[in-house]
């Protein structure tokens, strides 16, 4: 079987889906000959030509707005926004139009497009290249938000995103773009949007995370010998798989949630609210959050102060055990 990293797995998903469906077109900055700055679209312009793999002018609002128009006409555009910081000029198109057209037209028009974008820190780059802005999109009705943590999931989730009838923001955690190699089947498979993955079963503490932090959390768990941790990879941030979370919390009674995004109104806050609503009486300790601080992500020299790490996750697990009734 193929051993692929996330970059290669997404590339394979795009390649196979484009072969299957001639209405899929890719749009983005430097995605043609250059293959994208992370090489996710490598060789696709050679395979499918410039009419389907479109090197656009440098204009993110334009990329999304034009993709939206193409989707309205029945094409299946997959737009790449080069870095998460560059999503911001496209927010007007995404939040005011892409997410709303189904409701605005009462189903007459829909925008089943995919917006791919790298996310998070880990490449020691300049400002706007290490951010985690998922909350803006999770907060917006009409959008689905997907974030794989490994190559296998990346392929299966991408195919689901492409075939989804609604707009999907597909975040690719750049810290683990090439950090994990995994067996990825060549044949078609789908991973459903809205379903979390229990990475490791356990009985004492539920550890919930997503994206690049899954690797960090998984490694942290390897250092914990005397406590049984259940590790959940959300895979999808909108809609969140509440059922899997609640089932686990009812078993363990103790919860740690980890993400790289800032703390205030981060995904962890929403999960805590849902646990509060649906499993409050199962809780044996206050829920711990391991998140970024409520500050601008520092430039690379000091970024380690901001990012979550294995130690912080271990400390949080430690704390919920100590605080347990």
């Amino acid at each position: 079987m193929l051993q692929l990293n996330i970059v290669e797995a997404v590339n394979l998903a795009l390649k196979q889906e484009m072969k299957r469906d001639k209405e899929i077109v890719l749009l983005g900055e430097d995605i043609g000959e250059d293959g994208g700055v992370f090489r996710v679209t490598d060789n696709l312009s050679k395979l499918y030509g410039n009419e389907r793999v479109i090197d656009t002018p440098l204009a993110e609002s334009g990329i999304v707005g034009v993709s939206f128009g193409m989707a309205l006409a029945g094409l299946k555009p997959i737009a790449e926004i080069q870095f998460e910081g560059f999503l911001m000029p496209a927010l007007d198109q995404i939040i005011n139009h892409v997410s709303r057209i189904r409701n605005r037209s009462k189903g007459r028009y829909t925008a089943p497009l995919v917006i791919r974008c790298p996310i998070g820190g880990g490449i020691k780059a300049l400002e706007h290249h290490s951010d985690s802005p998922e909350t803006y999109f999770v907060h917006t009705p009409g959008l689905k938000v997907v974030i794989p943590s490994n190559p296998y999931d990346a392929k299966g989730l991408m195919i689901s995103a492409i075939r989804d009838p609604d707009p999907v923001i597909f975040f690719e955690p750049k810290k683990v773009y090439r950090a994990i190699k995994q067996e990825v089947p060549e044949k078609e498979y789908l991973i459903p949007i809205g379903k979390a993955n229990v990475v490791k079963e356990g009985g004492d503490v539920t550890l919930i995370t997503y994206g690049a932090a899954v690797k960090t959390a998984y490694e942290a768990v390897q250092h914990i010998s005397n406590i049984s941790v259940e590790l959940i990879d959300l895979r999808t941030l909108k809609p969140i798989d509440t059922e899997t979370i609640i089932k686990s919390v009812k078993k363990t009674g103790k919860v740690v949630i980890a993400h790289e995004a800032q703390k205030t109104l981060g995904v962890a806050a929403e999960i805590i609210a849902r646990i509060n609503e649906k499993a409050f009486y199962s809780l044996e300790a206050p829920i711990e959050r391991v998140t970024g601080y409520d500050i601008i992500v520092p430039y690379p020299k000091h970024e380690d102060y901001y990012f979550i790490n294995q130690q912080r996750i271990i400390n949080a697990v430690d704390k919920v055990m100590k605080n347990s009734i």
């Binding site: 430097d30 002018p57 440098l58 609002s61 910081g85 000029p89 430039y299 901001y306 271990i314 055990m321």
Partner: protein, 377 residues
Amino acid sequence: MKKVLERFQVEYLQILNENGNCDKKLMPSLTKKQIKEMYEYMVLTRVFDDKALKLQRQGRLGTYAPTRGQEASQIGSVFAVQDDDMVFPAFRENGVYLARKMPMELLFQFWAGDERGMNIPKNVNMFPVAITVGAQPLHAVGYAIALKYKKMKAAAVTYFGDGATSEGDFHEAMNFAGVYKAPCVFICQNNQYAISVPVEEQTASRTLAQKAIAYGFDGIKVDGNDPFAVYKATYDALRKARSGKGPTLIECFTYRIGDHTTSDDAKKYRKEKEVKEWEKKDPILRLKKYMKKAGMFSERYENEVKKIAEGLVEKAVAKAESIQRLKPEEIFNYTYASLTEELKEQKEQIKLENFTIAEKKKSAGKNTSVVGELEEA
């Protein structure tokens, strides 16, 4: 009825050609001292750039955007800018910063990933590096409108690349500038590539300069490897701005000899032959040819300028690298004018997090943790 309402023309300006010969009729009034100073700053920019690339390869700087090839566009233009004018750069304007007397160690500090490098001294009227493409022209226009409101004689100058002319923000900036006759000069360094996308695929316009016409003001295209042409165009545009006659767009036609940044590999999308052709048009070489003919240049002078530049660069690197890392709790300090209650709490928490790690390292073996400990590389 059908009639022509508007026709337009776009001028191209070259004063110093590739052989170092100068069109005397067009030559701006520059003293020998000024010309020498221009050369010296162009060399300093080149030496800075070479050193930065070396440091990046050694892991002593982060991602770096090289300047090589664009020295005339940067130094030629900034030489016409006065101290009280405000400059809004993009991210490749190392030469502009140096000529504005930005302490060089701050630039090295910035490119090494330390945000304190953008704590620009009060006497340098320049804004921090703008990483997202095309946002800063709007800021320059706003600044310019404020200068006009305050009846100040200064102007705002903004730098951006060919790629930026595709962003909506750029067009909004141009439109505001035209409507309000803002004392603003738009300097587009057309280095012909926005990462991998050549300018011909960026726009269907024959020139970038002509985009100004649609917004009701002049655009001019200049040979961006000719420091005299760039200087003259900027000087004229600033004089026009200060006299209340509004904005100008200057397209400096140049070439990015290096990669987009150190994370890019231009060989993937650019022919080696094309780069070689443009290396022959090196702006420093061109100015050198002129100075030789004008009797302003000797081997001794050349070596001396290089040596002084290298000395300044080495000193700046040493100074930048001697600066201690921030303490963890210091990363909170510039989020607001004063810390909010929640940030105060998080600031205390970060002290504890790091204290925990340090403490555990010190007392290895005396682990009080329930779950175990971890030393991270």
